[in-house]
Amino acid sequence: MFINAMGLILADHRKINLGDLSRPRALAAIPFGGRYRIIDFMLSNMVNSGISQIGVIALSKYKSLMDHVGTGSSWDLDRKQPGLNLLPPYINTANVDRGGEADDLNGLLDFFRAYPHKYVIVADSNVIFNATFDEFVSKHEESGADISVMYNRDSTRYGSPSMILNLDRRGYLRDMMMDPPKPSATRCSLGIAVLDRELLIDLVSESIARGDRDFSIDGLMKLYKQYRVRGIEYKGKVLRINSIPTYFASTMQLLDDAFRNELFGSDLPVYTKVKDEAPTLYGEGNTVSNSVISDGCLITGEVTDSMLFRGVTISKHAIVRSCIIMQDVFVSEGVELENVILDKNCVIRPGIKLVGQQDYPVVIGKGAIV
């Protein structure tokens, strides 16, 4: 009835960098899809699977992540036995005695030991889909594998970095390659693994004993020589974010009805921090076409093929085409924008013109006044 699992979300990824977007925040905290941040999708998938103990671990830049998840109440994780556990490196007091050197693995170990669940689902923060883990866990249980990892086969390009899996006939991993020059298989890891909590505790304890300081899904998969690591295919639609171009392309996919309906039209809600914005007001002379618009906007200009986050103002005679405009941005009169990503709180002054290319969108960092 309930999945007997706890969740762990790795909020950073050492190999993924989204430039100006990831400078002020962890990968998982990057705004996405109008009302959301990337982590919302994985958190919601876990909560919708009935998982109520979730750890989130980041390497640095916690503030924006902490502000976003708060007490966890938006995901109904503000429980007596904490539902949402932010696991920063500092959390382990033992480190202090050892001279204050941060060592997140001990913090992880404490977290895994704190709850009685059978499984742990560990997930990276760079894929977006909407599904429960029921099937994933039951297939893992049936197979008898030690570790199962989720992959998909996209017709589109995966972008880089991507981890291509080579499975044997029974689905077990026999090889894996990062961005291989000639992909021998089309299976690409989604960065999600499930394994026994007890096994995970053993693996992490060993890492600590060995003096390792790193923990990653790729690291777990690499154990395929000692353990039975098996791939399980996810067949639904997935967005994969590993660079600014894939971020931009993934956003634009949300303008597609079929894609949007699969991501949001199911019974599984995607939760996010509630902002209590006003409804969006459309003024007299506006033209809005093929765009996703969030609450709290005020639109009197032209918006085409774009994604607007909460609280954006588009003034009269402004033209916005194929843009991603984040929270509380103010676009003044007569501005012209095409293939531009504006981070939170930017102000674009009257008459400014910015034009990027689809593969090379212009990115304006948080709070810039242009």
């Binding site: 009302r35 949007r260 006003a278 409804p279 007001l281 007299e284 618009i293 969030s294």
Partner: protein, 418 residues
């Protein structure tokens, strides 16, 4: 301690029968308003923004929607351990079992609740007004004047004054007389139905009023006049800003349109006085390629493929290709199918307007649904209907499922529960 300085009691029990089918299944304060909100969001948000963290909500009529809407109070930050939002229905005790018989009686029946909170002052609110008001300022006046009661008043145009309960005041804003809808107004200060009472005083009057068998147990009709008679100190507190009673179909429609036509007055974008509401947990809305959305308010979960003009849409509304929605209010989950036209319509939760339906002000003629509650060519649809394709319904109609089955040619009922 600051906490017990004042508590609020919201009178949310009335049926609001003048809203017809809109309140057939839910209490008036739970009626959606202004795209993102419900009516009760306004007093609740005013309370929390004024620092009042204990709020009793007196319900009686169809409280379920209100009860589940308010839930644990979290959306308004009223999920407090000490204080918070309390639904207060009528109940049976060892001595009596009565429904609430009037506004004053409703408070009387909850004296024990108030005593448990032990406040110095009690704020009495209605659950059917749209306004933003800082009750803390009003409380300061009440305390400064050492009043027994402070009544918020609103200056109305003289020509409309006779529609209101009016306070005649002296030069110090002390109330000297109260008239309910007088033919010849002596004042244009209308009572807003917002009272602060010193609790010790109010309790005395409630107990006395309860013993009076001739009383209607109503604040306006009984308690206030009785206090005036006793020369208690009643102060008028002047409120400036947007304020509207949304007790009729016409005023509900007007007030919704005001957020489009006079957006600066209620100003939902003001982050210093947010109006909180329960989040529907829906994605951002989508405007399709050939859609047109002019002069309208939309919120999460809407998908617009047709034309929306001068309308207020709640969450999860779909307007299909070729459909036109004009001067209308669509509540959560409404679908307007291809080619339909809505003109000055208010459509209840989850109702489906079939293909090529024409309804509202631009359709002329009479109908079996014509209703005295609907004026100004406004047409209202009950929640959970499917209006069959191509049906035409004129203005001034209240469209609801009947017991006769005759209406079956025009509409059907889609809700699982009736």
């Amino acid at each position: 301690m600051a906490r017990n300085e004042i508590i609020a009691m919201i009178l949310a029990g009335g049926q609001g029968s003048r809203l017809g089918v809109l309140t057939k299944h839910l209490a008036k304060p739970a009626v959606p308003f202004g795209s993102r909100y419900r009516i009760i969001d306004f007093p609740l948000s005013n309370c929390i923004n004024s620092g009042i963290e204990t709020v009793g909500v007196l319900t009686q009529y169809q409280p379920l929607a209100l009860n589940t809407y308010i839930g644990n109070g979290h959306p308004w930050d009223l999920d407090r351990n000490k204080g918070g939002a309390f639904i207060l229905p009528p109940y049976q005790s060892s001595e009596r079992s009565d429904w609430y018989t009037g506004t004053a009686n409703a408070i009387f029946q909850n004296i024990e609740f108030i005593e448990n909170c032990d406040p110095k002052h009690v704020l009495i609110l209605s659950g059917d007004h749209i306004y933003k008001m800082n009750y803390a300022k009003m409380l300061r006046t009440h305390i400064r004047e050492a009043a027994d009661a402070t009544i918020a008043v609103f200056e109305v145009p003289w020509e409309e004054a006779s529609r209101f309960g009016l306070m005649n005041t002296d030069e110090n804003d002390l109330v000297i007389d109260f008239e309910e809808k007088p033919a010849k107004p002596k004042s244009n200060l209308a009572s807003m139905g917002v009272y602060i009472f010193t609790w010790d005083v109010l309790r005395r009057y409630l107990v006395e009023d309860e013993r009076n068998l001739k009383s209607n147990h109503d604040f306006g009709k009984n308690i206030i006049p009785r206090m005036l008679q006793d020369q208690a100190k009643l102060t008028a507190y002047r409120f400036c800003g947007y304020w509207k009673d949304v007790g009729t179909i016409s005023s509900l429609w007007e007030s919704n349109m005001d957020i489009l036509d006079r957006p600066e007055e209620l100003n939902f974008r003001d982050r210093d006085w947010r109006i909180y509401s329960k989040n529907p947990v829906k994605p951002a809305h989508y405007i399709a390629k050939n859609a047109s959305v002019i002069n309208s308010a939309l919120t999460d979960g809407c998908s617009i493929y047709g034309t929306v003009e001068h309308s207020v849409l709640s969450n999860s509304v779909t307007v299909e290709k070729g459909a036109i929605v004009k001067d209308s209010i669509l509540m959560p989950g409404v679908t307007v199918q291809e080619g339909a036209l809505l003109d000055k319509c208010i459509v209840g939760f989850e109702t489906i307007i079939g293909r090529n339906v024409k309804a509202g002000a631009s359709v002329k003629g009479k109908s079996r649904f014509t209703s005295p509650y609907c004026q100004d060519q406004i047409t209202v649809f009950e929640r959970g209907l499917k209006v069959r394709d191509k049906v035409e319904i004129p203005g001034n109609c209240m469209v609801e499922i009947g017991d006769d089955g005759e209406s079956n040619e025009l509409i059907e009922y889609t809700f699982r529960v009736r």
